[in-house]
Amino acid sequence: MSAAGARAAFPANWWLRAGWACLCAYVIYAAARLDFTWERFVVGIDNGARFIGRMIPPVIAQPDSLANGLIESLQIALLASFLGIVISLPIGLLAARNLMPVWATWPARMAIALCRSFHPVIVAILFVKAVGFGAMAGILALVVASIGFIGKLFAEAIEEISLKQVEAVRATGASFMNVITYGVLPQVFTRFIGFATYQLDSNLRNSTMVGIVGAGGIGGTLFSAFQRFDYDFVAAILLSIIAMIMVGEVLAGWVRGVFLEKGKVDGD
């Protein structure tokens, strides 16, 4: 990017300037296309002030449905992470190009790409149609998301291992499963803890959202409060979601600290 060719201290970079000009032109064009106008913005600010006014103070209108929604979200996140991790480990292993033949990596990589490309909420819509409203659809949707994420990172982690240890284990005459358990898995364990906790965290975030399309959890309560214009209850739900996510984040960090001596995570 920054070409420091001649002796001039800070030479003008015309390519860079052209790039910024293009970006500006694009922003103006795209904003015009999406119909952004100043007056919409002004009206919006006005609305926003009233909106925030109605959110304060937050009121817990239906404590039962709030508590049930949060608990259901937590259950969805836990079950989806568990199932997702269990399913994605073999798929990730199959997708590792340094251990598996091409005929095994291709289908596994395709499956991972397919799982990754759709947002969990879209997948949740499809599962709501398939298994009906409720937590099951949410769990299945987040399992798909977990397979996409953990499968990909797990495959990448395995591709980066040192093959010397694998060879050493193989040289002892170990079976394929023994090579995996003693040569491969110990090398990727710490990174695995990193993305497993990350995925649990991310599933917890998404489990509060899949309810918007009827797949269980607090999202449904949130969405219906929005539609009833109960903005003070909306504020209460949002605050409790944020609190739950932050507690989850702290716990995930603590678990990482337990397993990784330095408490440092790569792949985060």
Partner: protein, 272 residues
């Protein structure tokens, strides 16, 4: 670890990888996790009757989607898809503009003033804790349905991500260069532009590209709550049970997401 030797000759110095405290901590984490999963599995409300015919329902769904209605693409999907890309890109640009100052304020070595750091971190955390769909719901309530709400939702959700990673990149930059610049008497802005920026520039572009890729994915769902883009087309098709059209939309999303990922990977390879 072998304790099977004769009791009298047991060796006292036995090598163990972890201290008892570490082992206890690990064991309790496992225990809590297993207990939590078992508790969830036993108490989650699942209607088993719905599960029995799930495979059939799934098959039926795919069957109904099958001949993908490509004829629908030019009239109903293309414009929405382009809108989605614009929402993602504009949202990213807007997010970067807002996130850079916050990221700078959050970096402890650039702004050595703890209250400001904490305030900036609070902004970043609250941006990240609210899902983009919730941001979209809020902005739809404020600005009305449409792409404006979607763009702002994407932007506000991305501030936390971009700002956090940018701030961390700044904190990791080499202090020697900065000190050299400060020794010449360079003002604060010059130190920022010529000392920090060249060091974090690769990280910056990588963060922006990464976020853009995520935003393309996320902007595809915003339409479900009325915030513009291809999600609106999906929502309409779903509400009318036009499954072949749903399949068209899903296929379009799939292609765009894959293309975006390939583009991002290629650019990252070139510039990093």
């Amino acid at each position: 670890m072998a304790t099977s030797a004769a009791p009298g000759t047991a060796i006292a110095r036995e090598w163990r990888r972890f201290t008892p405290a570490q082992r206890l901590a690990r064991f309790s984490v496992y225990l809590v996790l297993v207990a939590a999963v078992v508790w969830s599995a036993r108490t989650v409300e699942i209607i088993p009757e719905f599960l029995y015919d799930a495979p059939e329902q799934m098959q039926d769904l795919l069957h109904r989607m099958w001949p993908i209605d490509f004829a629908h693409y030019p009239e109903g999907v293309h414009d929405a898809l382009v809108d989605t890309l614009h929402i993602a890109s504009l949202g990213t640009v807007l997010a970067v503009i807002m996130a850079l100052p916050v990221g700078v304020l959050a970096a402890r070595n650039v702004v050595p003033f703890a209250p400001v750091n904490y305030l900036a971190k609070l902004i970043l955390v609250s941006s990240r804790s609210v899902n983009s769909l919730v941001w979209a719901l809020l902005f739809v309530a404020i600005f009305g349905p449409g792409a404006l709400a979607g763009t702002l939702a994407i932007a506000f959700r991305s501030i936390g991500f971009v700002g956090k990673l940018f701030g961390e990149a700044l904190e990791e930059s080499n202090a020697g260069t900065i000190e050299a610049l400060e020794a010449t008497g360079a003002p604060w802005l010059s130190v920022l532009a010529k000392g920090y920026w060249p060091q974090v520039e690769p990280a910056f572009w990588s963060i922006v590209l990464f976020r853009w890729d995520i935003n393309v994915r996320e902007s595809a769902v915003l339409g479900l709550v009325g915030a513009g883009g291809i999600g609106m087309a999906l929502d309409t098709a779903l509400n009318l049970f036009q499954w072949p059209r749903v399949a068209t939309v899903l296929f379009a999303i799939f292609v765009v997401v894959i293309v975006a990922e390939v583009v991002v990977t290629q650019i990252r390879k070139r510039i990093l």
